[in-house]
């Protein structure tokens, strides 16, 4: 068939604020999350956890639990057929504890029963006899005792360099939780041939897959990890929770097994952000130019390694922030304690360091009597500069000065109407009269690496299939709510020139790893793989058919359709599969020097707060931002990431903290682990700074993490401005303001 065609640009391509395909189902309640999974004849699992933070297990008695009607299986470590430990970077965490428990809430046994209540009661009926030992709960003590997952040492320039002005500070960041609204949930179904299929919340199916088959002691192809609806992640799904337990129970019982953690178990069942203690010393010239930065950073990694070695590396590599300075000394310690394990959370080490370096920049600005933004502008790191810590030359775009200037250009609006009590500190609690309020403004900048670092082989596979209907993108990447399906669709539409693009998330047996949905990386990595696959497929088809364009009508040559999509697919759909890698990264040397990072992004935040100093109450009025996004592939979605990230950063600044007492959580619930509500939400104006990046699709950079990183120190800086207090700790609690 031939015919003439007029080129019509695709709709919903790159740069448009398209709707996400999962959007309407999610807001109308029709989207199936992991907690909605169901299989005929399925059993329910439950977990018996340690009641102490540290102890020796004398005996685990499963007899009473097994004897309960409705209980089908009770498993302990003795039932682990393969490797008895798991872990993302170091397999040091027992699948089920035996011999010792090292944190409060550590899994000791799992149960499968006919219904969730019976499973829970049976888990409680398991006799656990533990000799309690004193927990190591202070990370400083842990470092002194050498209980350290990783010490990273950075030495650059002259240790004796000195500046005319010196500011020192000690800072702390409390433990934030990802608090995804969807709790951990999953379903494992045995295949009847010794293998198992797993649907469970995840950020990285292939990493789960590898750890699961090793612990089950089965061949890799006997385990298939499937994508599932994930109700938020923020890092908490990077480590596995119930995954191996579910598979063990399914294989033992020969029946499907489902588990759903309740809110309290979710808090104990996933890793958290690392709490931080940081000591800083900045030296500068009278004109504000930084001369030397020294820092010691201790992150509490809790009982098991998880991603602590990468998180402490990030904290150390970004200890200075987006600033030029030639002389740097940083010691970062990832401590191992008996606190709940810490791992990945949005910002991944850069969050904690940013609170330190930005607090220091404000102190320095105050000492120099210099405008805080001007001090930052004078020291701004840019493309072509060496990163202050590693010495790595920044090769891509790094518009630090531009984000500062764009932020400064956003007008500070008039105060909100104080007649509406919701605009005041204390809100509808009616604590605060207009005369009790003092306003403050604070600024902060951040820098974050994008994608994986330190010589990790960050490979990402994707496939595109041409069908008579259009194109289908296939990937094992995890959509956790961030909008990956949408951005893959946009990239494929633009790259192929086709309007009809479907995105199919597949299991681990069908395609290679896409890597983790973390590190702000999937738009760049899976997006990059999809772009490469689409471009190569298009070239292949156009070459084969001598065409000069591809449209919904087919291959076009000289304005005429020479082959329809149906004709192109006459002998079946045409698949093109690629593996995409970003530019190589390298390990650093013994002084922390080298080129460990693939790409960088910067952001700037300005917070306006109203504080009632006498009661210590804070209303964050506005948080404005300018962010380096490379190229904005979907402005609306970026705005969503920015607003959400600012809420999470605000939470860490003024309310979100897991409170521990000797390793036990005191507030593992939403009554007392406070997340900001809409009544706490600030207005946000954001400016997207577009300077295309080195290698992301169409110049895009990941946008997920930066909004969370510098929003926290900006809010705290604003509270300092309003109160005149030092405020060395985030979150700032009312008593820190009232009784400093």
């Amino acid at each position: 068939m031939t015919g003439t065609t007029v080129k019509v640009p695709v709709r919903g391509g790159v740069g448009e604020s398209t709707m996400r395909p999962d959007g309407i189902p999610k807001v109308t309640g029709n989207f199936a999350f992991a907690s909605d999974l169901y299989a005929d004849g399925m059993l329910w699992g439950a977990t018996r956890r340690s009641p102490v933070a540290h102890g020796r297990i004398r005996r685990v008695d499963i007899g009473a639990a097994l004897a309960m009607p409705g209980v089908v299986a009770v498993l302990t470590q003795a039932d682990t057929a393969g490797r008895r430990t798991f872990g993302l970077e170091e397999a040091d965490q027992p699948v089920l504890a035996a011999g010792a428990v090292r944190f409060w809430g550590e899994p000791i046994a799992v149960v499968a029963a006919h219904d969730p209540d019976t499973a829970r009661r049976a888990a409680a009926a398991i006799g656990v006899d533990i000799e309690e030992l004193p927990p190591l709960s202070d990370p400083e003590v842990a470092v002194e005792q050498g209980s350290v997952v990783r010490h990273i040492r950075i030495r650059r320039g002259e240790p004796d360099a000195s500046g005319a002005v010196v500011v020192e500070g000690y800072y702390e960041v409390g433990q934030q939780d990802q608090a995804p609204l969807g709790t951990e949930a999953g379903l494992a179904i045995p295949d009847g041939e010794g293998g198992v299929d797993l649907w469970a919340v995840s950020q990285w199916l292939h990493a789960d897959h590898e750890q699961i088959h090793l612990s089950l002691g089965v061949a890799p192809d006997q385990v298939r990890c499937h994508p599932v609806g994930v109700g938020g992640a923020f890092g908490s799904r990077e480590d596995m929770s119930m995954h191996i337990h579910l598979c063990m129970l399914a294989l033992r019982t020969g029946r499907p097994v489902k588990m759903v953690y309740d809110r309290a178990e979710s808090f104990t069942g996933h890793v958290h952000r690392h709490p931080a203690r940081m000591w800083y010393r900045h030296e500068a010239n009278e004109d504000g130019a930084l001369v030397k930065v020294e820092a010691k950073i201790i992150l509490d990694g809790g009982a098991y390694a998880s991603t602590t070695s990468a998180v402490i590396a990030n904290a150390a590599y970004f200890a200075v922030g987006p600033y030029r300075v030639d002389n740097v000394s940083v010691d970062g310690y990832g401590a191992r304690t008996n606190n709940p394990p810490a791992g990945a959370m949005r910002g991944f080490g850069a969050v904690q360091a940013c609170f330190g370096h930005e607090s220091q920049m404000d102190r320095l600005a105050a000492r120099l009597e210099m405008d805080p933004l001007e001090l930052r502008r004078r020291n701004a790191l840019g493309s072509g500069d060496p990163n202050a810590t590693t010495g790595q030359i920044i090769e891509g775009s790094l518009p630090t000065v531009r984000v500062i200037d764009e932020l400064a250009a956003i007008p500070v609006p008039d105060p909100a109407d104080p007649a509406d009590v919701r605009n005041r500190p204390g809100g509808t609690g009616l604590t605060t009269d207009p005369g009790d309020i003092r306003r403050g403004i604070g600024y902060a900048l951040s820098i974050k690496n994008l994608a994986f670092s330190e010589a990790f082989d960050d490979s990402c596979e994707a496939s595109v299939i041409l069908t008579p209907m259009g194109a289908e993108v296939r990937t094992a990447a995890c959509e956790v709510g961030q909008g990956l399906a949408m951005v893959c669709q946009q990239i494929a539409r633009t790259a192929l020139g086709l309007n009809h693009v479907a995105v199919v998330f597949t299991d681990t047996s069908e395609i290679g790893s896409a890597g983790s949905t973390s590190a702000s990386r999937q738009t760049q990595m899976t997006g990059g793989a999809v772009l490469k696959a689409c471009e190569e497929l298009r070239d292949r088809i156009l070459t084969e058919h001598g065409g000069d364009d591809l449209t919904d009508d087919g291959v076009v040559r000289g304005g005429e359709v020479v082959a329809t999509l149906a004709e192109l697919c006459a002998s079946g759909p045409i698949e093109h599969r690629v593996v995409f890698r970003h530019p190589e990264t390298f390990s650093t040397d013994e002084n922390g020097q080298g080129a460990p990072h693939a790409d960088f992004a910067v952001a700037a935040h300005r917070a306006v707060v109203d504080v009632d100093p006498e009661l210590g109450l804070v209303r964050v009025v506005r948080v404005d931002t300018a962010q380096d996004v490379g190229t904005a592939l979907n402005p609306m979605s970026i705005r969503g990431q920015i607003e959400g990230g600012i809420m999470q950063g605000l939470g860490l600044a003024v309310m979100e903290e897991l409170v521990l007492d000797e390793g036990r959580m005191l507030n593992a619930n939403f009554t007392d682990y406070l997340l900001p509500t809409f009544a706490d939400a600030p207005d946000v104006e954001c400016r997207l700074v577009e300077e295309p990046g080195l290698w992301g699709p169409f110049g895009a950079k990941g946008v997920g993490e930066p909004p969370t990183i510098s929003s926290t120190p900006a809010v705290v800086a604003a509270i300092r401005d309003a109160t005149g207090l030092e405020l060395i700790r985030a979150p700032v609690r009312p008593e820190h303001i009232v009784l400093p």
């Binding site: 809110r263 609690g429 210590g616 309310m655 409170v659 809409f678 009784l739």
Partner: protein, 267 residues
């Protein structure tokens, strides 16, 4: 789990008599949280929402089944103020004053109002009929009341003499949906005496008697008297340190809140 759903007070009391261990369910905003946390596994539940006799609000008599949403829109200023601070709109549509009294949490948002007014709690049982207890006879400890196993809370009874000015305020770390770290209700009565009640600063809601005495019948306290009152309140509350706030903060905030509320109530 068995659920009884009476539609009359007599049926409810009969069910209560037959099932003395049963949990009482009104809005469920406390009970269901306990159930969800597995802190309570009810065998029998008596659901009270269909009992019309306790759903009404007439003058001084607020039926136990009256919701926060109704009180938020009602004529009593401080009661409306405190009702607005309870949970979210969904919680306020479900939660009731009777449930707040029955739960008897030191942080119960409605309790400072009842304490300041010296309100009575009306309860009933099938065998003994109706009795009334003053708020401090009824609220005896942390989540402990004088309610007998066969009784149901029927109403809160407000006094004949109501204040000429009344104000409520509540400190929480979040601007909505938060458990109070300190709450306070202050009233100026027609005889110019003052009433001061505080929540979350002792095992039960308490009155700040010393501060009330200091204020005496001063209609418009100022300056040093206000400061003295704040100090007296801070001294006579009995707060604890927990994960929500420190003892020192609660003492301080108690004084500040009362001082501000006295200022708002002043003539």
């Amino acid at each position: 789990m068995e659920i009884v759903r009476p539609t009359t007070l007599d049926d409810a009391l009969a069910a209560r008599d037959a099932l003395p261990g049963a949990d009482l369910l009104a809005g469920g905003t406390d009970l269901m949280v306990e159930v969800n946390f597995h802190h309570r596994e009810p065998e029998h539940v008596i659901a009270l929402r269909r009992v019309s006799e306790i759903a009404g609000w007439e003058g001084r008599r607020i039926g136990a089944g009256v919701t926060w949403t109704r009180m938020e829109k009602g004529p009593l200023r401080a009661l409306a103020q405190l009702s607005r601070t309870v949970g979210s709109p969904q919680i306020r549509n479900a939660g009731t004053i009777g449930g707040n009294i029955g739960t008897a949490s030191p942080a119960g948002d409605g309790l400072p109002y009842l304490a300041a007014l010296d309100a009575e709690i009306e309860v009933a049982s099938a065998g003994r009929g109706v009795r009334r207890l003053r708020w401090d006879e009824f609220l005896v400890g942390v989540k402990q009341t004088a309610l007998r196993p066969d009784e149901i809370i029927i109403a809160a009874i407000l006094p004949e003499v109501m204040p000429v000015a009344e104000e409520f305020a509540k400190v929480g770390v979040r601007n909505a949906m938060v458990i109070s770290t300190v709450s306070a209700c202050v009233m100026r009565m027609p005889d110019s005496t003052w009433r001061i009640a505080l929540g979350s600063v002792a095992p039960t809601v308490i009155r700040a008697r010393r501060a009330e005495e200091l204020l005496g019948t001063t209609a418009a306290p100022r300056g040093s008297l206000l400061a003295e009152v704040a100090d007296a309140v801070a001294a006579e509350v009995r707060p604890i340190t927990d994960h929500r706030a420190t003892e020192a903060y609660r003492r301080h905030a108690s004084g500040v809140l009362v001082r501000r509320l006295v200022g708002r109530c002043a003539a």
